[in-house]
Symmetry: C2
Subunit: 654 residues, 2 copies
């Protein structure tokens, strides 16, 4: 590895990509036309019957424009920052003067809330002045700063305006003066990672290496002994932000914060899932920018553990709601998992960096799995209701009546007091263009099959391509050279999804057998305007099995077609979904709907209690069964019709 | 119904029954020889590496014999009371002068800790004097009083000594002066039911009706609006004993305390399971003693709901550890259940009262199921280790690594700070004789097949019987008339267990076809000395199925033989028990062990990942399977060999 970024395929500028896709444009439009305006209303506490955000109000109080108390979570500022980041992304590909004016005013407000020394955080400004940097384990100060920085970078890219970037840099400079290994600075790090990946972005946007160095410091300091977070806890008198005045018996758990050992020595994904993947993302960034082979190897180990032993089939992570955390290898319960939408977004961040480090299909496969199945599941068709938790199995009565399942919601919710996921979905989808392509010196990678137009410089030639894709419903896709100046060979590299058993490639309609390497098909050619590289992906529905040590899925099977994982809903199959089963030899039929979407159907069975005496709970009569046509629908759309039961892993009759 | 107790078959005096049983005598001896002495050590904080009880120390401080602070739970006194109750029971059938001297000294100590006005509770004496009766929802004051009363009644029955009874009566009289519907008294009741059933026992022991009336008051007052427990919470400033100084947002939940509506109107078992069954027991007692038909009907409704919709196959209850509580109908998760040992003991209390009200086999069946499978599972073979929680499925790694399963222990524990279950097991097993027989005017019922000798008066004749039983391993049992004076017919009634598909009866070796009514076989005869009524119960191993709406058991089967439910352990079957399956047509073979116990064997299968590429977590390769001889062992003994996985409901291959 070298520290020359050019050698690694890098994502295209957002302004160089425009999404035009039958499936995804609807999401992009939804974010732009509905979600961003709706979230602005939420930030201003104007959504009836939803938990108020209070974010704008806190900034107004901190700016001295309004009297009042700070309200909301200690990291409430990030509601606004994530919204601004989404706005920046959206404006990059879709200018909107009205929206930009609203955002500019919000930025104005942030500026007014910033202290002379560059510090900005409304909680500490209003509620606990003088307590800055005294509780990094709980108070998310650097986390909030990170989201400010991310917003600033997106906003300058989307609008060219530097006001927010100036605010962010002043804050970053202040942080750089406070934290570091130099004498007089604090050798600390945040309880919730985020600042690290943000500082890398700030370095990329400004070219200022001190930000990269500071990100590196935070990453390398983490997990060193004596543990900063424990020493800080002792200094504070063993108190927590979450239980004011109470002396705690239990110290903060270092593994929860991925601070149990130096990051280079970590090999198992542990603790709070979002913190973990945000950290891994920064680690991969630093490995790339610094040519750090051993750090990249740590990333690979953590990736392999997470994806190979702790990931759900919908590309989600976090097996327990206790701490929104990983548990341990192969512990993947279906009815109590957390699988936070934000964690899958962080997983996508990480996957994209790993794709830069080494273009391997497995990274793209996981990115696609999380994007198509969990991220979009997180948001309702109306753009105004969200899932934080993405369960594999829902029994609404249990969500109500069993306290261990209260976190499993059968219906998407309007807004949450802790509103991390909605703006996270918004910023990911409004920056989708950054995930579709990557360009190396002379290779254009298509990581995802999302219809779009993009411009890149390849082997010195200015190239504009048009990617068309029938996914997720149809398997035909093509990459057309819309414009290309000059001449000379360059390479088009298409990801060959692992789910496509057979993929047929052609150039200008003529079948080819391209070199397939690590999950990518490479076609090197002196490409000319009008040339078309096409692929026909295998859309045959198929069964997925987990290894036998995933105890929760023993004797069960999941269905997938193309990139979509399917599920069974009560509205299609009746209640008590555990009663239905799918014979292992039953044909899976794709049933195309009027809107072009595809359901799966099969001839299965339903167990009944018809032959059962009703008196006692346990009896010797074996349940009888009757044939039932069973119907599976894309997981990502579940819960958008009548509320009811849902199940991903169905019992299989051998 | 009448209020004449004689009409209902009542349990025999403990001194009239002596257990002599190949299976149960070992438990009775274990309690007497090991558990009672061990628990005395525990009460005195002399068990190394175990959580201290502090019970004796608290009494010494309250009695002014020692300086110090109160330690332990607010209901810690009950550790000593339950121990004394077990001692009383044990002395009834097995006098032991040394043990009696130790117990007398402890009683002496309780007397010294009693206030002038009769009140006794070391927590309020030492830690919060002046705060009596200010927090009934949390502080278990009446609950503790109830255990004092139960101990006193057992001790007078076991020894004839009235000192503890005098202490208890003085306290009960004090309580009667404080609580009641009369003007000037508090219309309140305890957060944890127990006083009610204890007061009925006090009435039975003394003939003093005011105790029955007070029990009735507590039962009838419960659930009336305005809710006493809520008003008390308001008066206290919305605080809880469990979070001192914190003003709570959430009021106490009335359903948790079974106080959400008047008990007569309740029809679904809700809330904390132990509290529920203690209350139902008192309700049945009151229905019996007062000839209260509508109260009995409420008991029947609650029984049917609990046993028909919320009971595990091992006779345990409480589907969640959150509040050690019921959840809702048919919610019976196998890997997160609570199924507290104490709750099954309370279920047995309730069943025995229902058997008095109406001798129906279903009550005896549940009593037997809970006793043979959960109560004895709660205690290790060494008498020094206990399960509080009785899971249906254990994966030790998940108990460690998944916070939602921390309550599931793979190993019995030495002693708990909240030591409810060990002394509860001790008092139940040392009073087992009260559960085997019941005598009506002219009928002797054998509810359980536990070898024993018993004396009863039947139709004016003094009769001594000898019950012999091969259970739980062999199905032969007999009831012999060892002595009988005079002449005249009386009836022997043997329970016909629901698990016995065919039961063959004989008198003096000659086959008979007795009248079978509501699960009992009635044989009316002028019984003479030496007559033997015998039965051969069907010990064929059989499969049990749950109804299809028990989602956790879909496609699964449990095994039972005689009264014992079986389970699969890692030590017999290897790890990953979910990988094994049992064909629905596989023969179940009883394998008799050297000690006479019986394992079950069958030809089943194990799924393997042999054909599976190891790279990714989810793949299209269907797991292959190979034949495996699978072995099931009695659930009640699980975890007594090498620690490992355990599973009750195994996957069935149709």
């Amino acid at each position: 590895m070298s520290n020359d970024k050019k050698i690694h395929p890098h994502p295209l500028e957002l302004s160089a990509v425009r999404i035009r896709d039958d499936y995804w444009s609807a999401y992009v439009d939804l974010i732009r036309d509905t979600v961003i305006p709706y979230q602005w209303e939420a930030l201003n506490d104007r959504i009836p019957d939803a938990e108020p955000s209070r974010a704008i109000r806190n900034f107004r109080i901190a700016a001295g424009l309004e009297e009042g108390e700070f309200e909301g979570f200690v990291f409430q500022d990030t509601d606004l920052y994530k919204w601004l980041e989404a706005v920046g992304f959206s404006l990059a590909s879709h200018p909107d003067a009205d929206l930009e004016r609203v955002a500019d005013e919000a930025i104005e407000l942030i500026g007014k809330a910033q202290s002379e020394d560059g510090y900005v955080n409304t909680y500490f400004a209003v509620a606990e002045p003088g307590k800055r940097w005294t509780n990094l384990v709980d108070c998310h100060e650097l986390y909030s700063a990170g989201h400010l920085i991310e917003a600033a970078v997106a906003y300058v890219q989307g609008t060219g305006k530097t006001k927010l970037l100036d605010i962010a840099r002043r804050f970053a400079d202040h942080i750089d003066a406070v934290f570091g290994s130099e004498p007089g600075k604090t050798r600390g790090y945040d309880g919730h990672q985020e600042i690290e990946l943000a500082l890398v972005k700030l370095y990329e946007a400004t070219g200022e290496r001190k930000y990269l160095k500071l990100a590196n410091f935070f990453i390398e300091e983490r997990g060193r002994e004596p543990h900063f977070l424990l020493e800080e806890w002792e200094r504070r008198g063993r108190t927590s932000h979450w239980a004011p005045g109470v002396v705690q018996k239990m110290p903060p758990q270092m593994a929860y914060h991925q601070a149990h050992k130096p990051v280079r020595e970590q090999d198992v994904a542990v603790g709070h899932a979002v913190r973990a993947v945000y950290m891994y993302t920064a680690m991969a960034d630093l490995a790339l920018h610094q040519g750090d082979v051993s750090l990249l190897e740590a990333c690979r180990r953590l990736w392999r553990n997470m994806v190979g032993k702790q990931m759900y089939v919908n590309g989600s992570i976090g097996s327990t709601h206790h701490g929104e955390a990983f548990t341990f290898d192969y512990d993947l319960p279906n009815d109590t998992n957390y699988s936070e939408t934000c964690a899958s977004i962080g997983l996508i961040f990480f996957a994209r960096r790993m794709l830069q480090a080494e273009p391997k299909g497995e990274y793209g496969d996981v990115m696609e799995r999380a994007l198509y199945n969990t991220v979009t599941a997180g948001i309702a068709g109306d753009g105004k209701h969200y899932f934080y938790v993405n369960p594999m199995e829902v029994w609404p009565a249990a969500s109500e009546g069993n306290p261990g399942k209260h976190h499993i919601k059968a219906l998407r919710q309007k807004w949450y007091g802790c509103a991390c996921c909605p703006p996270n979905v918004a910023r990911l989808i409004s920056s989708l263009g950054q995930y579709v392509f990557a360009a190396g010196e002379d290779t254009l990678y298509a990581h995802l099959y999302i219809g779009s137009e993009a411009s890149a410089k390849l082997n010195g030639r200015n190239v504009r391509v048009r990617l068309e894709s029938g996914l997720p419903w149809k398997g035909a896709a093509s990459l057309k050279i819309a414009e290309a100046d000059g001449a000379g060979a360059f390479t088009l590299a298409l990801r060959v999804p692992a789910w496509s058993q057979e993929s047929i490639f052609a150039v200008n309609g003529e079948r080819i057998s391209p070199e397939i390497r690590d999950g990518y098909a490479y076609v090197d050619r002196d490409w000319r305007e009008g040339d078309i590289l096409s692929v026909e992906l295998d859309m045959e529905p198929h069964r997925l099995y987990a290894p036998t040590n995933v105890r929760a899925n023993a004797g069960r099977v999941a269905l997938q077609r193309g990139p979509l994982v399917y599920c069974f809903e009560e509205v299609d199959n009746g209640a008590t979904l555990q009663s239905i089963s799918l014979p292992s030899d039953a044909a899976l039929r794709a049933a195309v709907q009027l809107d072009g979407s595809v359901l799966l159907e099969a001839d299965g069975y339903r167990m009944t209690d018809a032959d059962r005496p009703s008196s006692s709970l346990y009896g010797t009569a074996k349940p009888s069964r009757e044939p039932q046509r069973i119907v599976a629908a894309p997981y990502t759309r579940w819960g958008n019709r009548e509320p009811g039961e849902m199940l991903v892993w169905i019992r299989e009759d051998r």
